[in-house]
Symmetry: C2
Amino acid sequence: MDSRSGRGGRPARQADIAEAAGVSQTTVSLVLAGNREGVRLSESTRQRVLKAAEKLGYVPDPVATRLASSRNHMLGVYTFASAFPTDVDGFYYPILVGVEEEAAALGQDLVLFTGTGGADARAHDRTTIRRTRITDGCLFFGRHIPEEPIDWLLGSGFPLVYIGRRDELDGRIPFVGVDYVTASAAVVDRLVAQGHRSIRYLREDDDAPSSTDRETGVLQAVRRAGLPTAKVVVRRAPSDVGPSLIAGWRRAGVTAVIVEETDTGSLARALFETLDAAGLRCPDDLSLAVLGRSPYRPEASGFEVPRRELGRRSVRLLVDQITAAPGERRTAQELLPCTPVIGNTIGPA
Amino acid sequence: MDSRSGRGGRPARQADIAEAAGVSQTTVSLVLAGNREGVRLSESTRQRVLKAAEKLGYVPDPVATRLASSRNHMLGVYTFASAFPTDVDGFYYPILVGVEEEAAALGQDLVLFTGTGGADARAHDRTTIRRTRITDGCLFFGRHIPEEPIDWLLGSGFPLVYIGRRDELDGRIPFVGVDYVTASAAVVDRLVAQGHRSIRYLREDDDAPSSTDRETGVLQAVRRAGLPTAKVVVRRAPSDVGPSLIAGWRRAGVTAVIVEETDTGSLARALFETLDAAGLRCPDDLSLAVLGRSPYRPEASGFEVPRRELGRRSVRLLVDQITAAPGERRTAQELLPCTPVIGNTIGPA
DNA sequence: CTGAAAGCGCTTACAG
DNA sequence: CTGAAAGCGCTTACAG
């Protein structure tokens, strides 16, 4: 049995222990903090304090601890995506799973910053973003990034890691990204090896790094194959993907189409639906490759983004940043390789 | 342009604003807190303070706010389940989605308490659980509940809501649960209406309320139908579900089997696999009903647990508890109805 | 080896 | 209408 609390039914504090053990509150703090170097306490005092703490059912107040010291073993997760990953089929969910796994493994709690009302109504301003400072460090993600508040956070020395490559702010943003360039080039290589000479790459009309990198990889490989790059890249909003686009390609002798699958997922989907509606089958009528795996056609050829690993590594990098001495903290940026997906939509030209 | 911070590059505090505006820090706090009743401030002071705050890019420190006051608009999520919902197919994920949606709608951030290392190694003791107090209130879930720390939290007046019905601690635990009794009885009614007279109910050998309630509903309906209840309930560990069990039922003339789908999901799965292995088809050879929807056989007849709604309502109840005056806070307990699933595994006896 | 004091950044009576 | 002071529960120099 224990008394379960300090005076008045509230949870016991260090002061209650101090009183019970006949020592100062400072001493209690010292004892409970464990063996900090340079501090020596008599064994008898230690025991008395420990016993009193046990008896009173003492548990440190995490809020006070955080205010007075610096670490609280909480990591933030903040998203600039239009929808927080509440969607079961969402692009972000596997990333979150990885984040959660690694956080648990490293003994960190997670704070999901969702509280600003509807995702759309949300202003990613400084006030909103500064709330992340309640944590030891924060993970950010989303296709686009508001530079000002991130700059501000970074400038204040707050540890953060972006999930996804970022080149804003003179490359000062630490991130764990995906090597879309290499993966995308490999897809083109595969098509070329199958004899395809007239290829189109359908991409979103939106310049997030993940899209830009895919395009870079595609063009690199096209050039390397000695093919003309002029008409390869086709920018389209999902709503502008229709029968006439496909018909035009076929007239031009196009034999393979590549499409990107991003966090919005709608462009690839629009293409699949248009192909289906036109009665075209892949790879019989046309070879198809997807840069990233689509839930609507998981068997398509292309590559898979290591989303879970992305989450895990981001957490590890963030914890590294938090742990590193502020002086020696360098901008850490890493890229993860994608896994090729053989699939069944690429055939000979 | 603004100076972005107080002196020395650190984020601005109220004291910095006070200095800049030539008022006291108290006044700054008063102004920024908005219109608290009984406090009147001259418009000119207000404006000066607001202007200075804006200029310095002031954002309140949530930790300090929480320590000094009581609310910080963060809700906790804590699980006693053996696995935190990191599993994509996990039972808990839809609940979490509901929690997140509603939290966002109500302007609350979410803290996921995952940080105690591996789920199994985790000791749900007071120290671990008290960390939830960093939030305004916390959601708990999992089949089993360690009474002592929950009692302790409850006793300290900390708002909490259990996701799932609970009758421990003399019914003092607020919860949002599922009406398994009614839903399970309805399933039996359906079987009886189809002429089934010899029914077996396969359940886990584990007494969580969700299992107990299903059994209660099943037995209620069996009794109501004037059928013997003696042999209806069969308790089995998933590993003990095999061909001999099924063979025995068939010899005994059993025409319908009901199985529960819980958060572990393994018992229903074991049954499906055994039926498949035995080459039995439902409803041709045997009618089958699942109490809860299984990802392994979503088309099975039975009912669907309103998991997303469970999450949403839990958040609402929790926020109600937080908002209510401590005195008038009553134990709030509610049960949600399940959605019947017609399915294709029930046929005439 | 131990304690008194200041401080983390706020809120909240309590005075004027 | 505004300010000085105490307090939330800790940690961390700084003295002894």
